[in-house]
């Protein structure tokens, strides 16, 4: 089966100084909800606008539904919908007029389904878009995207400004799409926002795709936060610079740190002292995630090695 999205060494330099994304090799299988995660400026929107052919790659290639993003543009447009990160719509139109226009450009949509979406997202379609709040504007964008029942939805931070109730309804819509075998690609900078929704996530930082993993695998490879109680006060020097050890603090006889990968070096170093207790504390997904993109370059490198 062809992948919903497939990129090869996709690279975008906006200018010779301004990096967009670098050598991104990504495959998103159909029928998934895929989370595309990264901090501000990581390159999420760049990646998405490349897939939409709004900007052109410096090198590399991209296919959507097995079609070339540039050459087969119109065929892709008929089957894919998109909600931009900074959504701007014709503010002089009402929501209903805008949906009519976009529906006509699409060549007709199921009006019954569209009205059901309007109802489910509690959108007031007869207000002018310029008078809508940010969240309500976002609803118009979401109805526009879902109403064509696309094979692939590309959503750039779609939940910004939505209240919890509408956010839940949005998640139901994504899950329904998946049930029907359609694919959803969502960018976000918050893992908690998408962790329960996505099947897989890709993590991008400073333009590079660091890892693509199932949520389950991500949880499995948790960072371990360790606390060791020694029988005597220990010096911090004995544990500094051990491979994989981060956030090290030693207060009197208690050592706290986070360990990535093997515990071997730390345990061997600890064995030189009397160990009274050793606790491993479960880390939240958020912390795993922070390790991927909050860390300095060295640590990020380590993470991506661990991921490989």
């Amino acid at each position: 089966m062809t992948a919903a999205i497939e990129t090869h060494k996709l690279t975008k330099w906006y200018s010779h100084r301004s990096r967009g994304i670098l050598d991104v090799d990504l495959v998103v299988e159909t029928g998934q909800i895929f989370g595309f995660l990264g901090p501000n400026g990581a390159g999420k929107s760049t990646m998405i606008r490349l897939l939409l052919d709004l900007i052109r790659p410096t090198s590399g290639s991209a296919q959507v539904l097995g079609l070339d993003v540039h050459r087969d543009r119109l065929a892709i447009d008929r089957r894919v919908s998109y909600v931009p990160g900074e959504l701007s719509l014709y503010s002089e139109l009402t929501g209903r007029q805008l949906l009519t226009y976009l529906g006509n450009l699409q060549g007709g949509v199921d009006a019954v389904y569209r009205d059901k979406l309007i109802e489910r997202l509690e959108l007031d379609p007869d207000k002018r878009i310029k008078s809508l709040s940010r969240g309500n504007k976002q609803k118009v964008g979401l109805v526009a995207a879902f109403m064509i029942r696309p094979e692939l939805l590309i959503l750039d931070e779609p939940t910004a400004g939505l209240d919890p109730f509408i956010q839940l309804e949005f998640e139901h819509l994504c899950e329904e799409a998946r049930t029907e075998g359609r694919t959803v690609f969502i960018s976000s900078h918050q893992l908690p926002e998408v962790e329960h929704l996505c099947d897989r996530v890709g993590i991008i930082r400073e333009g590079r795709l660091l890892a693509v993993e199932s949520i389950a695998a991500l949880k499995e490879r948790a960072l371990r936060r360790l606390e060791i109680d020694f029988g005597e006060p220990v010096g911090v020097e004995a544990f500094a610079n051990l491979p994989g050890v981060r956030d090290l603090t030693v207060t009197d006889s208690v050592l706290r740190c986070t360990v990535m990968g093997s515990l071997d070096a730390l345990v061997k170093a600890a064995a030189r002292y009397e160990v009274r207790n050793l606790r491993s504390i479960d880390t939240s997904l958020e912390e795993i995630f922070m390790a991927y993109y909050g860390a300095d370059d060295g640590a990020a490198e380590e993470v991506s090695h661990a991921a490989a």
Binding site: V80, Y82, P84, E86, L102, N104, L105
Partner: protein, 265 residues
């Protein structure tokens, strides 16, 4: 609701500017046509122009202003109407792509099955229609006014002069479109097109009194617009062809440039 496609949506977007430019140009033309006999009775226009000497030539190749045709030629067709139609066409065309880009609506629009070239062509067709509509309004009010004052204004000649006027507007509109499609900057595109119009007007007007300018005169689009004095002599096909060619070339240029560009987020 005119929301069927990009063409009809653009007509919707242009409806008020088109209404106002049509009304403005039409009202002026009608007004002069109605009041012309009164004017020419009070003032001997030809003798005033004679007193002005060479400076009068700045207003174009004048001819006889004691007729309505000569009067309209100098009062409206040499400067005011071109300025209005060029501002209209350039103002509208410069927003076709750059307006969508600066408002940020281009992302959603192009994610539907509309190609970049179709976007430009459908929008351009709308401004062609708008310009023609404005010209028709001018024609009706001009002919109506002349009939009311029992002045001579040949309907076919007026139509021909308006045809050239529309071509002039579209030529400058296409220039503005190309600049905006290349830069995404609407203000720069309007500024450049209107500035170019002023320069070209001056070149053409000055060329009739300053000998040295004769060589550059063919570079001015006003040379083709006014050259044959269409209100009196009708259209010269070569002149019309030059204006049309400029419009088409810059339209094609706009499409080619816009197809290749990264669009603003």
């Amino acid at each position: 609701m005119l929301l069927h496609n990009v063409f009809t949506k653009t007509i919707r977007d242009l409806r008020w500017p088109t209404f106002w430019v049509a009304l403005g140009m039409g009202a002026m033309t009608g007004y002069f046509a109605v009041l012309f006999p009164t004017y020419s009775k009070i003032v001997d226009l030809n003798s005033i122009l004679e007193k002005m000497g060479p400076a009068a030539k700045l207003m174009g190749d004048i001819g006889d202003v004691s007729t309505l045709v000569g009067f309209l030629h100098i009062e409206l067709f040499s400067m005011i109407l071109p300025a209005l139609i060029v501002t209209y066409a350039a103002g509208m065309a410069s927003g076709f792509t750059a307006g969508e880009e600066s408002r940020g609506t281009i992302d959603v629009l192009l994610s539907y099955p509309v190609s970049r070239s179709r976007l430009i062509l459908e929008k351009s067709l709308a401004v062609v229609l708008g310009s023609v509509l404005a010209a028709v309004v001018v024609w009706i009010l001009g002919i109506g006014g002349a009939a009311a004052s029992a002045s001579v204004l040949p309907p076919d000649r007026l139509a021909e002069a308006l045809f050239m006027l529309v071509l002039l507007g579209l030529a400058f509109g296409a220039v503005a479109l190309a600049i905006s499609a290349a830069t995404g900057n609407r203000a720069a595109a309007i500024g450049a097109a209107v500035g170019l119009m002023v320069v070209m007007y001056l070149v053409d007007a000055l060329a009739s009194i300053v000998d040295g300018l004769g060589a550059v005169r063919p570079l001015s689009l006003f040379h083709y617009y006014m050259g044959n004095d269409p209100l009196r002599n009708g259209i010269s096909l070569t002149d019309a062809g030059v204006l049309a060619a400029v419009a088409v070339v810059f339209l094609i240029l706009s499409v080619v440039i816009f197809e290749r560009r990264d669009l603003a987020a």
